[in-house]
Amino acid sequence: MTDRELLDELQYVLIEPPDQGDTWPSLIWTRDEVLEAVNGAIRTLYRHVHLYVGGVHLPVAAGATAVPLPERWLATVLVVWRDLSTTPPTRTPLGPVDSFEGDLAAPGWEVTPGLPLGYADLDTEQRTLRLVPTPAADGLAELLYVLVPPAVTGALPATDLPVAEEFIDGVKYATLGWLLRKVGRLVDPERAAYCERRAQLTETAAAILLGGWS
């Protein structure tokens, strides 16, 4: 489905004249507002269910306190530390931590290098990864991360939505939920709650598919 087809479908549901999202004559919502809701819904779906991921092996020198994350990083799925000082290299899965937890678990973790046991990606500069404790040897941070989705613009020519056909309902209903919650003439908490539930249904189905069969 293309972005303009989705906008058309939203217009049918919201009783706006369907013109592939170009105009919203009721003036309850603006075109930009709807596009922001669609993009927000796609980002949420990507982040919550790790729909599409990228993998990268980041080289980390011994003692490095910060590792830049990829340009299109949205969220971390998992990080594994590959220690290159041993033969063969050893891999250690890392858990998500913040600097407060690092301080409690390993006081002085920033200046006393060791074998990394955790990673922190949210409590320092944007798009920066820190290993806890700081690595004592050279290695690779094997990073699996959620990609930032391409933005939907609704412009001509129409482009395919960055979501497989089966997951489009997650985007459609998250968008509708957001629009129907707007305090205005068409505020509708009942239908908004239903839409949020429908979006959660898509997330649940995706989590079942991607969680493995364990």
């Binding site: 009783i15 599409y52 092996h57 980041l58 699996l144 056909e165 089966e166 598919l209």
Partner: protein, 259 residues
Amino acid sequence: MAAYTQTTLADLQALMVQRWDQVVFWTPEEARLSLNEALRLWNLLTGRWRTRVLLDVNSPPAAEQTPPFSDVRLPGVLTYAMRVTTAAGSPLIPTSIAELDLARPQWSLETTASGGDVPTIPTLWAPASLTQINIWPTLPGPGISIGALLCDGVMATPVLRAPTDLVDLGEEILDVVTDFALHVAAFKEAGDRWRATRPYFEAFLQAAADENGLLKRNQKYRRFAGLDTTRKLLPSKDAPTQLAGVASQFASHDTQEDQ
């Protein structure tokens, strides 16, 4: 046993009209969109439309990675993977990346040539995303063949555009799909008309759970579909006890006496 049928978009639209007693409140285009929504949700929940593809193993997934590559990209025709086998027919056992990392941290460095307790053919697979799976053990290098890996997965849902477009549906689900499309079409109406179609949504979810056992195992899904009846009947928290029942009788008696 339900018969296999091919139904056109026009047939499904006519079924929707038959299910409504008054002047219909939707246009043919809205009916088409509702039916397509029903089909894609059905495919998501049950994996109705499937196919088999050959996997390209050990091709570099990204420039920023170092070999060996345990990642396998799925071809674009697949929406998600459900089963992986070798060409000789040996199935790979499904697992998850978290389990592989925790149970066998070295897994992504191990290849079919590693020796020791590492098998000589891939034996496990784990979904990493919709478009990517990982296998263990992987191949030692590009161009080394153990025979192909085959993947059974779910195809993109057919999209109905013209009235004569065909879709293959079993007779047993024609009703739930059409009813659900009616529920989708009624959404714009809000109020009582839409509320009256809510049971169609629940019936659709229950039919999907009947077809796909994985859904029934998921607690969150069971709650969506209204399948958690045992939990409602036997709550584990704040459950009424016999003692509470007796106490409430005394409490009501006190109230009557006070009056």
